[in-house]
């Protein structure tokens, strides 16, 4: 067995993890959803966005009931166009997770960079960056994301809007979420900046850039990881909310939020499964990532050791 793995299995971190049933359950649910999104083309029964694989006669099949016209059975049912809900959820998960991960990554890079610069340089740069962060923090993230989405939509020509919608969504959610990262990294940088190893690095003439990246940044990663996990849950919900409001993922590339939006219109006529299963999937995803984040925060908190 290689040493990295055995080291990990013997670590404090893994021990705590193995003793927490909630964390294990949350981890299993999250991994199942991530893996099924990743392998969606393999495990889905059809590609719901390839019109050739759809049969309108299958429309509104009830979950687990044999369709009268075609004799096919869909265990989570189908929507109005005969799309298998199970397959649309898998493809929707892909979009939701892709947007969530990318948005958090973007927010993390932007926030950590600005936080490092603010904390390390101090003075005027610091107060400008943190003042902008404070102003942004007074407004709810969803409002900022909506605004950025609207502006970006206004700038892009109409024929490209559907193509770039996903990227605009990532940009909007990422930009509404960088403040948390900036604050945490700045706080940690302020502490690290005055430690001896940084003084030593300065003395031997390393550039501020390499001190920030190679020496300070690695020491701020613990709290960043915690914020990133909690942000992921928030980003997934934000994406679902925006898509539900009709300003997120386009119908050609639906996310879980778009599926819920579509499903809502069938609720009154009794086709509950079109809404229900995507909603449950979204909940399971958001809840398990949230629980993982909570557990991680406690596990990495030195005060609780």
């Amino acid at each position: 067995m290689n040493t990295a793995l055995s080291n990990f299995l013997a670590s404090d971190f893994f021990y705590k993890f193995s003793r927490s049933p909630v964390a294990i359950a949350a981890f299993i649910v999250t991994m199942t959803l991530v893996l099924s999104a990743f392998f969606a083309p393999v495990i889905a029964t059809q590609n719901p966005f390839d019109p050739g694989s759809l049969n309108l006669m299958n429309g509104f099949s009830k979950p687990g009931v044999v369709n009268d016209f075609t004799g096919e059975t869909f265990f989570l049912g189908t929507d109005d166009q005969g799309r298998d809900i199970y397959s649309t959820i898998l493809y929707g998960l892909r979009v939701s997770l892709f947007v969530g991960f990318s948005a958090v990554l973007f927010a993390m890079i932007l926030g950590a960079t600005l936080g490092l610069i603010a904390g390390y340089t101090g003075g005027r740069v610091d107060s400008i960056i943190m003042r902008i962060a404070d102003i942004q923090l007074t407004f709810p993230a969803i409002l900022i994301a909506l605004l950025i989405f609207g502006i970006a939509k206004g700038i892009t020509p109409p024929s490209y809007r559907d193509e770039v919608a996903i990227w605009v969504l990532i940009l909007a959610i990422g930009l509404s979420d960088w403040v948390q990262f900036a604050r945490v990294v700045r706080g940690a940088t302020l502490v690290e900046r005055n430690k001896e190893y940084v003084q030593a690095a300065k003395l031997i003439g390393r550039s501020p850039f390499s001190i920030m990246i190679k020496h300070i940044l690695p020491n701020t990663l613990g709290p960043v990881l915690v914020i990133a996990t909690i942000s992921l849950a928030l980003a997934i919900i934000a994406e679902a909310t925006l898509s539900f409001l009709g300003v997120g993922a386009p119908p050609t590339q639906p996310s879980l939020g778009t599926l819920i939006r579509i499903g809502q219109s069938f609720l009154f006529s009794g086709e509950w499964w079109i809404l229900f299963y995507p909603a449950v999937t979204l909940l399971a995803l958001a809840l398990s990532v949230n629980l993982l984040g909570d557990w991680l925060r406690d596990a990495l908190n030195p005060k609780l050791k």
Binding site: I135, F139, L245, I260, A279
Partner: protein, 327 residues
């Protein structure tokens, strides 16, 4: 204290100027205002005339100042999509959102404080634990799913309450109210619960945490030792001292309620400013977006400033601290 207030107000003005700059840049750089005013048939002379009329030939700072001047008078131009004055549209829509936000805030405060006190006093009771666990699930549910769930149960399955709209409204001057008709009152129940639920859990958890803290203090023990009734101890002494943080958070949440109304209004097709804003984002109706942004920022900044200043009014300990430090 006066210097504190002045500094706080100056900060607020700075924030508003920044937001104004964002709103103005949207007008100026997102889409071409000339394009949206003139149709396909236009001459170079038309374009020049409109540019001059709109003041687009002025230097950037002058345009910005003119924009702020107009915005301060409530003039945000004409909606690209509806072709009407933005200020008129907003005035029509505002009562719906304000009524919804008001009822939600009221629900959130009454039930939040009530349940918070209850769960703190009966800390280990079955009901208290049940309420705390339920609230945890409530926090992780996205608002729109709560709305859909309520619609499904109370509108689709039970058929007790309407699933969309405001019901019948009565016009009182320029204010349209839904409080005076039966259908209006019925229509507000589900949206108000949806919007207020998150804030309610927040207030409840805060009141509970603060109460538990206060109940441990010596003066509460002393009050009990003096033989005061449970009621007097819990409400007269304990609850009173938890109110400072609660009022702060509640004040700040009122702003969020108005912003989150966007989601609730979409779920219930409630004809307020939030729904207007969502439609504006979908159709890139810049004047409406800019006006909404300015309006909600003024509201946020106003509330934040008032809450900060209220600190001093509510808690005499703070101003005593400030004066002993000699500012």
């Amino acid at each position: 204290m006066l210097t504190y207030i002045i500094r706080r107000v100056l900060q607020s003005i700075f924030v508003l100027l920044m937001v104004g700059l964002v709103a103005f840049s949207m007008f100026r750089f997102v889409g071409d205002p000339v394009d949206s005013l003139l149709g396909q048939e236009r001459t170079q002379a038309d374009i020049e005339r409109v540019r001059e009329q709109l003041g687009l030939n002025d230097p950037f700072p002058i345009q910005y100042i003119k924009f702020l001047g107009k915005a301060a008078q409530g003039d945000f131009g004409v909606s690209y999509r509806q072709g009407r004055e933005v200020s008129t549209i907003l005035a029509e829509r505002a009562p719906a959102t304000l009524e919804l936000a008001g009822v939600s805030a009221l629900l959130a405060i009454i039930f939040g404080v009530g349940l918070g006190v209850f769960t703190a006093i009966r800390r280990d009771g079955f009901m208290a634990n049940f309420i705390m666990t339920t609230s945890l699930i409530g926090v992780s549910l996205p608002t729109f799913l709560i709305g859909i769930l309520l619609i499904y149960v109370f509108a689709v399955e039970l058929g007790w309450l309407p699933s969309f709209g405001r019901g019948e409204v009565v016009q009182l001057g320029w204010w349209s109210t839904g409080f005076l008709t039966e259908s209006g009152l019925k229509a507000i129940i589900l949206p108000a619960i949806t919007l207020g639920l998150y804030q309610m859990t927040l207030i409840m958890r805060l009141v509970r945490a603060e109460m538990l803290e206060v109940l441990r203090t010596d003066y509460i023990k002393f009050a009990r030792a003096r033989g005061l009734s449970k009621r007097a101890v819990n409400f007269g002494h304990a609850l009173k001292n938890t109110m400072v943080p609660v009022i702060t958070v509640t004040g700040l949440q009122i702003g969020s309620i108005i912003a989150f109304a966007i989601i609730t209004e979409t779920v219930f097709q409630w004809p307020g400013v939030g729904l207007l804003f969502i439609n504006a984002v979908q159709f890139v109706d810049i004047p409406v977006m800019a006006a909404y942004l300015m309006l909600i920022s003024v509201m946020f900044v106003l509330i934040n400033t008032i809450v900060d200043i209220l600190y001093f009014a509510i808690d005499p300990r703070l101003s005593a601290d400030a004066s002993s430090r000699g500012h």
